[in-house]
Point group: C2
Chain length 730, copies 2
């Protein structure tokens, strides 16, 4: 698309910001004060109440629109397929959380009951999520280690280790739910924006590594105690390698066969996705086969294979959370709450965009908060969503959370009636299935070279988050990742490339003078572009770059001038210096006494004030030659233009620093202009009492060209105005 | 200064960025690669070696320029006055660090010996600093509590509690020195920029509160065990109030008298500062008097007053740092190292600007690192500088670190010969002197209302840092403050005020259309200004604001159009829809079969692709009326201009998000233009493969007006071009 050569012609008055606002009256917009916002927020009428109720119970909204004939079949089919996967994952993930397998089935049931009423996403499958299970498992093994006595917690007395573990898991889940609910009520759903895609990708890759390591013991049939805290992954791997000779061959062979079969079937299923009505439920098929084979050949007794074992049939009585566990696990429950919400919300967002409906972050927080509190009371553990399960629910035709409800019912049926069927299932089968499903998460490592080429800071965030999460553990790793992410934002604006601009001959455009040959920089005028916001971390940097650009330190020159002035005054007092008739100091005057070393120590701060020409009968032209013995650096600069187009904000340090440097230039009689300043930045400068006699508002101009034309017109003695004429090429 | 009304006239070709670069060839600047930088850095010749040596031993530089006759007297006078204060402070601050008083004298001596050779500041007084003393004291009381057994550390065996404390303090100081040295060698002096003035102010105010509380026990003559960790200040206060009835009246009265006297004399001295040759050494005077009185009336035995007690006379043998203490205190030594350096550097900077010489942050780190390592070996504790002492050194005429050396000698003389004179000094006197000197630090609270009015985020940083440092302790508080400070930077750019711009009639200027009455917005053209960098935390926000500004969701419209297209294709296939001769679909055609609810579920993703007009014999004009039963939202917009002037950077999330939303508009046949994009941002977009057939580089324009003129010229059917004519007012 070649741009047709048209002409650009403008003729208007030259505007400074002051002149512009004289000609164009600004409308006095009344902005809402914080009080207005609070008032608005607290106003209540029946319509608002109704809307609030509807937003608190989204089920009312979508149930009214439910198209029974069209949607129900899809929801049922989807619910059944999702339910099968949810059961499998529930078993596997409860082992990951160091809990007996049946509690995974609880997690597939209870949270969903609440989410059905409170959730705004129609497609996510609520239930266990491997990363959360692992994080809960960390707390569980810390408080109730496999070998060694449990932590000193009142409420553990008289409980078996498994019961202690369930108590810990449900208490952590309860606390996590409380955190989520509190954040939802406080409207803090926006926090997910801080978890950038890069951060989440690095974090989940690290989580996949942790999950992989945690499953090795099942696949190899080894007994490995759980470690927690920094470097626990190293200790776990060490423990595994020490025992590697004790590997249970039956477990290993079963696992490898299952991994290979599932992997191949998944690849095929992926390739012919469009031709298959529903994805092949290969995990369910191998589980059923494995159950049968294990039962038939009595794997448990014959080969010493670890099986799921006795399942709790039916449901147990509700349980109260334990305060001691709250205290012990508060710092871990918070990241669990954040991760749980972040994952669910990001998955929900994908499908809400795909299907064109709105989800509400705060309501999701409330929904998951209440779901987890409710679930924890019935001994289920941390619930969120798993991407894989949600993909199945959506792709197999699920339209609403009715599908979720049906999948929860499936889990209930298994819990109540069919749990005994799963008892001979080897744990290595579950481990193998988990590992096979990690492929996608681990493949994210491929992003690193891509990010490295495109955006270094993003790459650093990915790598640091991933390494920190692997080595320090998921909770600390998340904190480190967040810190690094925030630092990169600061870093991106901290060392920007400042540039000196010059006019592109024949136009009103200004570009970096080093980039173009056909530029014109009028003598005595510098245009300095500040390409980023100014704040505490870069205000000094800009000062240095500006001094470099103009070629002198204004403060130093000012001091030298003031010192010279003092000397001249002293000489004049002694009447040793002849004054010409027109009031100029005689130029080639030889100073009689050698006194240049005599730097008497007057209060130094006076030197930073503007040169004081009062009670001086002569006129001093600093750029002319001065009496011998008195030397002051020459300043060729008469106008300095600062391009503020990219200065999107200033903080207090920046305002103070900017004011200081501007004053230094003004005191050297350099005209300073600020151009293209954002209206809100200007408003803020006014609010911060930035302006005074030395820094007037008249230094602001709407465009660079206005300021340059004004500056050159203002200093007739300078190198002549820029001639902007029509380009002859046309 | 009224701007004289001049004319602004421009006539040049209309430029897009592409056209501009055709006309103006960009110089191919070779940028230094990281490898070049490394090469430069490693290149070595004799000149560089000499300069490196000089920068490592700044003493060589300034000693050569030393003006013996002029400077020596000032240095000696200043050294003596500073020395007296340094001795006093040394005693007081070593009590603050829970150490016997004589170690404060060591701290006034050893570190200075090294700083003399390595330091770049000529005016700071090196030695103890109250905040550091307190932070060291926290570690000391944690590892060797007043009541209760010391921590389990090898090396404590056979040592008295005081010796254990000295071992802990010197080990922490050694480690702190190591951290500083390492940071200096790694050229990490830039970290001080992250400690903004606001943060430092909030932090030091909190430190003053801690110091005040720590001195209460001396002033009241109570025995209070040291607490450490979060909320320790609450426990300390509780302990003090519980014992308040045991207050030693003699201590209290002495303290109050001293505080009142010193306060009044300081105020007077401040008022007549200009008339006094040196500040009145009131602290030294009251100390001498208090020593005399305490000795004369035998305060210790008569009133049970706590005195400084036996001083170590002379110096002790060097001590090796303890590895166990390193391990226990690593997380505390790091903030101590940072705070020590930050305070010294900021004080040094003030005087270097005042006297016009350069200081080097990295060399200062090295200097303090080595000073502290050396000092720690000789049992002194953490050294930095104190603002009060430095002010005395400079104001009493100190020109170079010769003054510092003389003040160190004073401390040495007292240690070696006169220490016994200080033994009867009540500790309450030292406490009172410390408290009186906190006035300036505590008065910083006055900044809060000022900051609140000027800059809310800065105010939040101050308050959070201060409260966190008070309640959580200084080290954790500093970390929290840094975190909040980084978050505010992100926050400032996260919810910026986007605006829709419109042309100011008769000019080439564009302003927020809500702000001005005399604006013109051409029909079908929107100008959207993005007033901040775009990154992970605000890319979604911009998407929402843009959708709000244009008034429709492009993705939704695209899907509706594609659905309508499918329907039309189906109707055409069944030949049920008459096509007019010129290929248009007949407008008022009544659809025969009611089929609008039949939304068959084809792969949804197809709906997001550009409308596929192939194998369609008709031309569809979306803005004309469509066949009945088919409705698609009307899109009036034909051109969208995004003002990128303030977009100083984009991260990967932003690039991906921007690309998505731009494509959605392009697929609706809206022409998108990006204007005033920074050269480096454009370069980065090229590097990230941002461009393709749908998003060509030709959408970039140098100015808003160029883009608008082009857009209006490009769409003749639109509301006519903007006429920019000379303003008739002239």
């Amino acid at each position: 698309m070649a741009t047709p050569r048209k002409q650009y012609a403008v003729s208007r008055p030259l505007y400074s910001e002051d002149a512009f606002s004289q000609d164009h009256h600004k409308i006095d917009r009344r902005r809402k004060t914080p009080r207005d916002h609070v008032k608005d927020y607290l106003t209540c009428d029946s319509k608002r109440a109704q809307r609030a109720l509807l937003s608190l119970l989204p089920v009312v909204g979508w149930m009214r629109l439910y198209r029974l004939r069209e949607w129900l079949l899809g929801d049922v089919v989807s619910g059944v397929s999702t339910g099968l996967v949810a059961i499998m994952q529930g078993l596997a993930f409860s082992l990951m959380a160091s809990l007996p397998a049946s509690y995974g089935l609880y997690t597939a049931f209870f949270p969903m009951l609440i989410y059905f009423f409170l959730g705004t996403s129609r497609h996510i499958s609520v239930g266990s999520f491997p990363v959360l299970s692992l994080m809960v498992g960390d707390v569980v093994t810390r408080l109730v280690p496999l070998n060694g006595p449990p932590a000193n917690i009142t409420g553990f007395q008289g409980l078996s280790p498994d019961q202690q573990r369930v108590l810990v898991a449900s208490s952590v889940t309860f606390l996590m739910g409380l955190f989520q609910l509190a954040m939802g009520v406080l409207q803090m759903g926006f926090i997910v924006v801080y978890l950038s895609d890069t951060l989440v990708s690095g974090f989940t890759t690290a989580a996949a590594v942790h999950i992989l390591v945690s499953q090795l013991k099942f696949v190899l049939g080894l007994v490995v105690p759980g470690f927690s805290g920094p470097l626990s992954i190293i200790y776990t791997l060490e423990k595994i390698f020490v025992q590697i000779t004790d590997t249970n061959i039956c477990d290993l062979v079963t696992s490898i066969i299952i991994m290979v079969v599932v992997f191949i079937v998944k690849e095929i299923s992926d390739r012919y996705k469009s031709k298959l009505p529903v994805p092949i439920p290969i995990e369910v098929i191998v589980t059923v086969i494995a159950c049968g084979v294990s039962y038939g050949f009595n794997f448990q007794d014959t080969y010493g294979v670890d099986v799921v074992g006795e399942m709790v049939s039916g449901y147990e009585a509700p349980i109260a959370p334990n305060m001691d566990v709250f205290r012990e696990s508060a710092t871990e429950a918070f990241p669990i709450a954040i991760v749980g919400f972040a994952v669910a919300f990001s998955v929900a967002k994908v499908y809400s965009i795909k299907h064109g409906y709105a989800i509400d972050g705060n309501q999701e927080l409330i929904a998951f908060g209440v779901s987890n509190i409710f679930g924890a009371t019935f001994r289920s553990f941390a619930a969120s969503t798993a991407l894989s399960r949600t993909a199945i629910q959506e792709s197999s035709g699920g339209k609403t959370q009715v599908a979720g409800l049906i999948s929860a019912m499936m889990a209930m049926i298994v819990t109540v009636a069919l749990a005994f069927l799963l008892e001979p299932l080897p744990t290595s089968v579950l481990g193998a299935l988990v590992i096979v499903n990690l492929k996608g998460m681990l493949m994210q490592v491929g992003q690193v070279p891509f990010l490295w080429r495109r955006d270094r800071p993003d790459c650093v965030v990915w790598v640091v988050t991933c390494l920190a999460a692997i080595l320090l553990g998921l909770d600390l790793g998340l904190a480190v990742g967040l810190g690094i992410e925030l630092i990169t934002v600061v870093f991106r604006t901290q060392f920007p490339r400042c540039s000196v601009l010059a006019n592109i001959v024949g136009t009103d455009l200004y570009r970096d003078q080093k980039d173009y040959a056909c530029t014109h920089e009028p003598t005595g005028l510098k245009i300095f572009r500040i390409p980023s916001p100014i704040f505490f971390a870069n205000v000094e940097f800009f000062r240095e770059k500006l001094i470099e650009a103009v070629g002198f330190n204004p403060l130093r020159v000012l001091r030298k001038r003031n010192k010279a002035l003092r000397k001249i005054k002293k000489l004049l007092k002694r009447k040793e210096m002849p004054v010409t008739e027109n009031g100029d100091v005689h130029l080639f005057y030889q100073q009689p006494s050698k006194e240049s070393e005599d730097e008497t120590d007057v209060e130094d701060l006076d030197l930073d004030l503007p040169a004081d020409f009062q009670d001086l009968p002569v006129h001093i032209d600093w750029s002319a030659e001065l009496p011998a013995g008195i030397s002051v650096p020459r300043v060729e600069l008469h106008s300095l233009v600062l391009d503020f187009a990219a200065v999107s904000f200033l903080d207090m340090s920046a305002i103070v620093g900017l004011r200081t440097i501007l004053k230094e230039f003004v005191r050297l009689h350099v005209d300073v202009y600020i151009v293209s300043c954002d209206a809100y930045v200007l408003e803020k400068l006014r609010g911060c009492v930035f302006f005074d006699a030395e820094i007037p508002t008249s230094m602001f101009f709407p465009t660079l060209h206005d300021a340059v034309l004004h500056a050159l017109g203002h200093r007739e003695d300078a190198g002549g105005p820029i001639h902007v004429v029509s380009n002859t090429k046309l």
